[in-house]
């Protein structure tokens, strides 16, 4: 997980997304503890309230839960739920800009689809 100062989104969103990525990747497995607000504040040199906001958003959205006096844990099923959430967001954050740019460059849909397939083949 890494904060990017060029990325001008609020830091708490970057914290939230970084933790989400780590849960998706299995770095923080279900039913295990995620870093505390203090640890995040130390590691990234950020205001603890900002770190707390990032963590609490995960709790509010139901991916994590609080164990009183211990810390924040990843909920069972969180990985699958996160995948769903990210898939929904995929259209807006990846497809729309892709299509917009393709149109600006007069790239046809057929070409676009063919290129995606080719890129996928090259990756495999």
């Amino acid at each position: 997980m890494k904060l990017n100062n060029q990325d001008q989104r609020p830091i708490y969103l970057q914290i939230q997304e970084g933790l989400e990525d780590a849960i998706l990747a299995g770095t923080y497995a279900e039913e295990t503890q995620i870093p505390s607000t203090t640890e995040l504040s130390q590691a990234f040199q950020i205001n603890p309230a900002t770190a707390g906001k990032g963590v609490n958003t995960l709790v509010d959205e139901g991916f994590c839960y609080k164990k009183r006096g211990i810390g924040i844990f990843v909920k069972k099923g969180a990985r699958e739920m996160l995948k769903q959430k990210r898939q929904t967001a995929f259209k807006e954050s990846y497809l729309s800009p892709l299509i917009k740019e393709a149109k600006q460059l007069d790239i046809s849909m057929e070409n676009l689809i063919r290129w995606i397939k080719e890129a996928d083949d090259a990756n495999n």
Binding site: P10, T38, S41, Q42, I46, K100
Partner: protein, 285 residues
């Protein structure tokens, strides 16, 4: 102390209006950034809060009281770049006297920290280099662990490595004490990650005061060809307009409803510094 309330404070230096009816409430347990250009009134405001100088009009309420009594002054520390300490004082003596006034100031621990920074406690303050004086002054200030710590230009004289160490110290003390730390500086982007609340001051007036995240999420750039931008310009509150080779970039304040953007217009985020500079330029016009 739970709050410090600044009520209608104005300050004139002869015919110069340094502060113009400033109203502000500082709450316990937050890191504030008091951000403004040189001469904006940052230091004057802090000096008035710390009771070093008197306002021309208005008053400060410390937990509702107008008087900074003995108990309350021990909950407040003000550190300024001007050399206000007796210059023949030794580092160790400065620490000793500070520990006598601020009960949480741990003399041994502070001397150890200063030693780790390579500072000789036997040196007199006027024998220290600018950089070392800056270290002594900011470490002493933070280590008072006072409820309200005001740091005026705390990084003045620090090199890049020491600034980094200083920012870590700010956060460490804040995590341990949950106190209020007010950082006044013109190095905006460098400290923005430390802040929870932001106060923008310019020409003696506070023109924006909000939670950092609110400020960042409520401003962004729209960039596109001039004709397209002109079509949509009127629907927004524009802070700054930059024209460059047929392309226009607007820094706007987010409306409650975001209209659909025509093709060819891109949005991008603005940093705290971008936003500050844009407002300042607008106010100069």
């Amino acid at each position: 102390m739970q709050t410090i309330k600044i009520c209608d404070i104005s300050k004139n230096y002869r015919d110069v209006l340094a502060l113009d009816k400033v109203n502000l409430e500082l709450q316990a347990g937050k890191i504030y950034g008091l951000l403004g250009r040189n001469g904006a009134g940052k230091s004057t405001l802090l000096k008035i809060i710390a009771d070093r100088i008197r306002p021309t009009s208005g008053q400060i309420l410390y937990n509702g009281k107008t008087i900074l009594d003995d108990t309350t002054s021990r909950q407040l520390y003000f550190s300024e770049p001007d050399k206000t300490f007796p210059e023949l004082l030794k580092v160790k003596e400065l620490c000793y006297y500070t520990s006598q006034f601020y009960p949480k100031f741990n003399l041994d621990e502070v001397l150890q920290i200063l030693q780790d920074f390579g500072i000789n406690e036997k040196k007199r303050l006027n024998q220290l280099s600018t950089g070392n004086f800056a270290i002594v002054r900011s470490i002493v200030a933070l280590q008072t662990r006072a409820g309200f710590i005001f740091l005026d230009e705390p990084t003045l004289g620090h090199d890049a490595v020491n600034r980094e160490l200083f920012y870590n110290e700010v956060l460490r003390i804040y995590r341990e004490e949950q106190n209020t730390i007010v950082l006044s500086t013109h190095l905006i982007d460098e400290i923005s990650n430390l802040l929870e609340e932001v106060i923008f001051i310019d020409h003696g007036q506070i023109f924006l005061e909000d939670n950092l995240d609110n400020i960042i999420t409520s401003h962004f750039y729209l960039t596109g060809p001039s004709e397209q931008i002109e079509q949509i310009e009127r629907s927004y509150s524009v802070i700054e307009k930059k024209e460059n080779l047929g392309f226009v970039s607007l820094l706007i304040r987010r409306p409650s409803v975001t209209p659909d953007l025509p093709d060819g217009i891109k949005t991008s985020r603005a940093s705290l510094q971008d936003i500050f500079v844009a407002y300042s330029k607008k106010r100069d016009k």
